[in-house]
């Protein structure tokens, strides 16, 4: 019981760290493509962010099981890149079907970015990090959820900022992705500040 309690506590800590100090988007700059292109509107950004949280949590969990229960016993660890991608692709397909059926509006809003979650490097990145860092199953769930939450937080903040500067005069050469990347850089600097708070 004590072991489980410690593991749960570790999962919470890892989850927190993944949201703030080790934010997958702002510290490793993974998943930048949808981050710059779907962050124009808070509503859509929240939709995509929610989808990422969901997909990331479950793919981390599924990938952990596939890795530790299939690949490690067979000595096929090198195969993880392909297997992870296949699992992510299949899972996204299912999510796509569910959204199409139950939330057509979100489905339309996400458009091409929903299938693109499959090749969102943050999703694969999270699964690979969890292997490298040798997380246990419970910690992996916390890590996947936290990473997704961190991504959601970052894209929400970005969408909020971008909605605000819709009315401000951005120099012509910086409009669009240019200013978005500069803001992403500033946000990354701000998130580094959290490291100090936690330690």
């Amino acid at each position: 019981m004590n072991g489980l309690g410690a593991e749960l506590w570790q999962a919470v800590v890892v989850c927190f760290a993944a949201v703030f100090t080790n934010n997958i988007l702002l510290t490793t700059f993974l998943g930048m493509c949808p981050f710059t292109s779907v962050s124009r509107e808070v509503r859509t950004a929240a939709g995509l962010g929610g989808a990422v949280v969901f997909v990331m949590t479950f793919t981390c969990l599924l990938n952990w099981m596939a890795y530790h229960w299939i690949l490690v016993p067979l000595g096929l660890e090198f195969f993880r890149f392909i297997l992870f991608i296949i699992i992510i692709a299949a899972f996204v397909q299912v999510v796509e079907m569910i959204l199409d059926r139950f939330s057509p509006r979100l489905y339309q809003n996400l458009g091409i970015f929903l299938p693109l979650i499959t090749v969102n490097c943050a999703i694969l990145g999270a699964s690979l990090f969890m292997v490298i860092r040798e997380y246990s199953l419970i910690v992996t769930i916390g890590y996947g959820f936290g990473s997704g939450l961190g991504w959601l937080l970052a894209i929400l903040a970005m969408a909020g900022i971008r909605q605000r500067f819709n009315e401000s005069r951005v120099p012509a050469g910086l409009q669009g992705p240019g200013i978005t990347l500069i803001i992403a850089g500033l946000m990354a600097l701000a998130f580094i500040g959290f490291t100090g708070v936690l330690s």
Binding site: L74, I87, A90, V94, R101
Partner: protein
């Protein structure tokens, strides 16, 4: 060693197979909407398989909503009024619908997916629309870039239509165009002779369907089209009528003039036909025959820039300028326009200035 390789390959491929199986099962469970009932105009009930677009579901039930882009959501022609069901307005539809249309529940039928019971409203005449199989029996040059195509119907063998209506010609995939497209062309033949239709088509540079018609379609080839569509027809009022057309916009008027000839129509009618150069004029003999048959009909060809050697003695300049020169005012007239968007807009402006109210100006605009 060999065993190990076989075992590993089996393990990986069976994982993939398992995932595929899950996907197939999910598709069957989640995307299965069952059969859905579509109530049309409060009277006709159709049961369709859910999951497809409203446009293609209706097509399967032989109800043909006009669509120019073939269901890609770019042309905005396939509008229908959705009274119940249909879900929220999609972002792909908003750019093609006006504020009033959005409030009235108008949707693009190619974007609305049938997910449950629906109640829709469509113009009654769409029930008359059918799919026709025909054979191209004659191709005739009218000018250097306009041809008249005659299609003899094979199945069904007659098409009831009102003069001025159009059909959607199916252009099959060919070298240079990989997918099937539908394009609208006005019927340019006698509505009484409804075993065949004529279409007058002007070559559009790089046009998908016109290129096919001009370069691939041969006499004797099978063609198919849906129709008739449109509410561009001669109104049954006693007021004098002004027709204005440019280029292949002459097509619906040929049909309308046949109808007038059969009815011995005595109403005052003037037809201004605009062309760039004298080479662009066509059907002059047929128009002369209509002038002789109809005592109050006058045909006025207008050539914008006649070459000096053509010795053109008729009206020159823009077709709208010719109208302004010929009439002081047009109060109490009706205007009928057919041609490209630029000509239509210019003509509407001029007719409005000359005293024809907007609701008396009817037009068939093609982009």
């Amino acid at each position: 060693m060999v065993l190990e390789i076989i075992r590993d390959v089996l393990a990986v491929s069976s994982t993939a197979a398992f995932l595929t199986l899950i996907l197939v099962v999910c598709e069957g469970l989640i995307l299965n909407y069952g059969s859905c009932e579509v109530m049309i105009n409060g009277s006709r009930k159709e049961t369709v398989q859910g999951g497809k677009s409203l446009l293609s579901s209706l097509q399967e039930k032989k109800i043909f909503i006009p669509s120019a882009c073939g269901g890609r959501g770019t042309c905005g022609v396939c509008k229908v009024k959705v009274l119940e069901g249909g879900g929220p307005l999609l972002p792909t539809e908003t750019p093609l619908l006006t504020k009033q249309e959005q409030q009235a529940g108008v949707r693009l039928s190619c974007q609305v997916k049938v997910r449950g019971p629906l109640a829709i409203e469509i113009p009654e005449e769409l029930f008359r629309v059918r799919q026709y199989q025909a054979r191209c029996s004659r191709i005739e040059d009218l000018t250097y870039d306009m041809k008249r195509f005659t299609f003899e119907l094979t199945e069904p063998d007659t098409i009831p239509f009102t003069a001025g209506q159009y059909v959607q010609l199916r252009c099959p995939p060919y070298k240079g165009s990989r997918e099937e497209v539908m394009r609208a062309y006005s019927i340019a033949s006698d509505p009484l002779e409804n075993r065949r239709i004529d279409l007058i088509i002007r070559r559009v540079p790089k046009g998908i369907c016109t290129t096919w018609c001009f370069e691939y379609l041969r006499e004797g080839d099978p063609v198919s089209f849906t129709g008739p569509f449109g509410d561009f027809y001669l109104r049954d009022t006693q007021t004098p009528k002004l027709f204005i057309a440019g280029g292949s916009g002459i097509a619906p008027f040929v049909s309308i003039l046949w109808q007038m000839k059969h009815a011995d129509d005595g109403r005052q009618t003037v037809f201004f036909f605009g062309a760039n150069r004298t080479e662009d004029l066509c059907l002059l003999d047929e128009m002369k025959a209509f002038e002789q048959a109809l005592p109050n009909f006058r045909f006025v060809p207008v050539v914008a820039r006649p070459a000096p050697e053509s010795r053109w003695s008729g009206q020159t300049g823009l077709v709208t300028e010719a109208v302004q020169r010929s009439f002081e005012r047009l109060d109490g007239w009706e205007g009928y326009l057919c041609g490209g968007p630029g000509m239509i807009e210019a003509a509407i402006r001029v007719l409005r200035q000359m005293g024809i109210p907007d609701e008396k100006i009817y037009y068939d605009k093609f982009a």
